[in-house]
């Protein structure tokens, strides 16, 4: 199992190949979104919507053994691709590691330039929500 840091480094390498071409980057992000495992329709409820995103983003988390697995979807293809990057780095990791993780890949791949300030804020909201889920599940384990 790769660590959160290693997965981020992997993402940075992949995006480096795109060489800053915005159109190619968009296509690539959407392609990643298409590969995200389907989220059950039953999970796409208002309670699971991440607040602060321009697009609709549904996010859930569950414990599988001692690790946390995330499920996500969005009504827009690019946002779905973006949330898939976070699912990729966090899913299957321990709660403690998720809560304390530093998310450094967005800056390295020039995400703000590519998705704009408002969507970057939305992306921040997704990270925060994932950490909150990890924190909640962590206390569940400890209880």
């Amino acid at each position: 199992m790769m660590s959160i840091v290693e997965r981020q480094e992997e993402i940075i390498e992949e995006f480096a190949i795109l060489d800053g071409d915005m159109e190619m980057t968009n296509f690539y992000v959407m392609e990643l979104g298409q590969k995200l495992p389907e989220m059950s329709e039953a999970s796409k409820i208002d309670d699971n919507i991440v607040k602060g995103c321009q697009s609709k983003v549904w996010l859930t988390a569950e414990l599988q053994g001692s690790t946390i697995v995330y499920h996500a979807d969005s009504n827009t293809a690019i946002t779905k691709g973006l949330v898939s990057l976070l699912v990729r780095i966090f899913s299957g990791q321990l709660a403690d590691e998720i809560v304390t993780a530093e998310v450094f890949f967005p800056e390295k791949i020039g995400m703000e330039r590519f998705i704009g300030t408002q969507r970057s804020n939305g992306f921040g909201a997704m990270i925060k929500q994932m950490k909150l889920y990890a924190l909640a599940l962590k206390s569940k384990i400890e209880a």
């Binding site: 071409d21 159109e23 980057t25 968009n26 296509f27 959407m30 321009q54 293809a77 690019i78 998705i115």
Partner: protein, 415 residues
């Protein structure tokens, strides 16, 4: 078509483009294509230079200064008022009030005229095509006064149901507020007819001209409209400036909108008397520099000629519409024949946000979303549209680039 083609020859779009410095840049590595003109248009060099000249040469507070710079600034400021008066053909220069923009102009009428003349059980008619700024001020007023709001239905082609409008009119109707052209769809409303029918029941009419000013002939006397609200930034002028035209007798009967300097005649702690129109409604130091520069935007429009602009933009729109319809799954929202140059569309199975972002990656600026017309989007049962809105400096080559980019997106998404 022959007539349109011969008109277009009167100006050369490449020459027009030279007047707009912002157009000559690359965005995301591609030459910028600016199709977000309904949100705000770009500014010709004359407007930019006028701002510079004002701040470098004669910035001063206006109206009461006796020194030379104040005189010069006052004259330039009032020159724009005169220019705008002739632009909309108001009977008197004093019928033009400067505001921050269309939104403030509408709020001015709602707060001042509305508070005084609209009472319990009165009715305000708006249309289903309105921008939030021509909905919310009336809702606030209606709530405060116990008045109610009636909404004219929108037909499938994005035009207003005129028969429905007539059925809403009664002696309770005190005000009708509709736009000259829809910002979301581009539909041009039959405002002359709307005004005439509304006047028959004694209602006053406010026209939200935000989307009309840059594209359509405006003659407030011929229209007989009571109020016409507009924004400078939608018609090649600076942001933060707009105007309200109002008939003198209405403006005189209305109480002040805001209190402060400029708008008073005499102030004592016992009693204050108010200035004459238009100053009664212009409390505080106005946005002098931008008002001064606005004149040059109006000159730009008149130099090209409204008719020429309309013909050219119509040709751009027709071209874009035909090309757009070749894209599989593309549906135009509001496809009436009488429109300003706004192409609003959705593509089945592709979210407008994704298209907006993909177009941006190709250097093409469009707007996506509800365009501040959520009730209208609800009517069409859509979340939003992709809106490409054209201005006089756009070209068919730019439209081709947008169409090619859309084809790439659709091909990818449907693969």
């Amino acid at each position: 078509m022959t007539e349109i083609s011969s008109n277009i020859k009167k100006f050369d779009v490449e020459e027009v483009r030279k007047l707009f410095p912002v157009l000559h840049q690359k965005v995301n590595g591609k030459p910028l294509v600016y199709f977000d003109n309904a949100a705000t248009s770009q500014k010709p060099i004359a407007v930019i230079e006028a701002l510079k000249t004002y701040y470098k040469g004669y910035n001063a507070n206006i109206h009461r200064g006796i020194h030379t710079l104040a005189e010069k600034a006052t004259k330039a400021f009032e020159d724009t008022r005169k220019r705008l008066s002739s632009f909309v053909n108001s009977n008197e220069v004093e019928e033009i009030i400067f505001t921050k923009g269309t939104t403030e102009s509408i709020n001015l009428v709602a707060s001042s005229y509305g508070r005084k003349f609209i009472n319990e059980d009165d009715e305000i008619i708006i249309s289903g095509l309105e921008h939030h700024s021509n909905i919310v001020p009336w809702q606030l007023l209606a709530e405060e006064k116990g008045a109610s709001i009636k909404v004219i239905n929108v037909l499938e082609d994005g035009t207003l149901d005129f028969d429905h409008f007539k059925s809403l009119l009664s002696d309770r109707t005190k005000l009708v507020a509709v736009n000259h052209a829809s910002n979301s769809l581009g539909t041009i409303n039959p405002i002359k007819e709307i005004i005439a029918v509304a006047h028959e029941v004694g209602a006053k009419v406010l026209i939200d001209g935000a989307q009309g000013t840059a594209h359509l002939e405006i003659d407030v006397q011929e229209l007989d409209c009571d109020f016409y609200a507009l924004s400078a930034h939608k018609c090649y002028g600076p942001t933060g400036v707009g105007a309200l035209y109002g008939k003198r007798e209405l403006l005189e009967a209305m109480p002040p909108y805001q209190g402060g300097g400029e708008m008073i005649k005499e102030v004592s702690f016992e009693k204050t008397t108010f200035n004459d129109i238009p100053y009664k409604f212009e409390a505080g130091t106005p946005n002098i520099g931008d008002v001064v520069a606005f004149k040059y935007a109006l000159d730009f429009i008149d130099d090209l000629g409204k008719e020429n602009i309309a013909s050219y933009e119509h040709e751009l729109y027709t071209y874009a519409r035909e090309k757009a319809l070749t894209i599989p799954g593309l549906r135009i929202i509001g496809d009436s024949s009488n429109k300003v140059s706004v192409l609003s569309f959705v593509i089945d199975g592709v979210h407008p946000f994704d298209i907006g972002q993909m177009l941006d990656a190709s250097g093409i600026a469009v707007r996506t979303g509800h365009h501040c017309t959520q009730p209208l989007m609800d009517h069409f049962q859509i979340e939003g549209t992709i809106r490409a809105s054209f201005a006089v400096y756009n070209t068919k080559e730019e439209i081709d680039r947008m169409i090619e980019a859309l084809q790439r997106v659709v091909k990818f998404m449907k693969a």
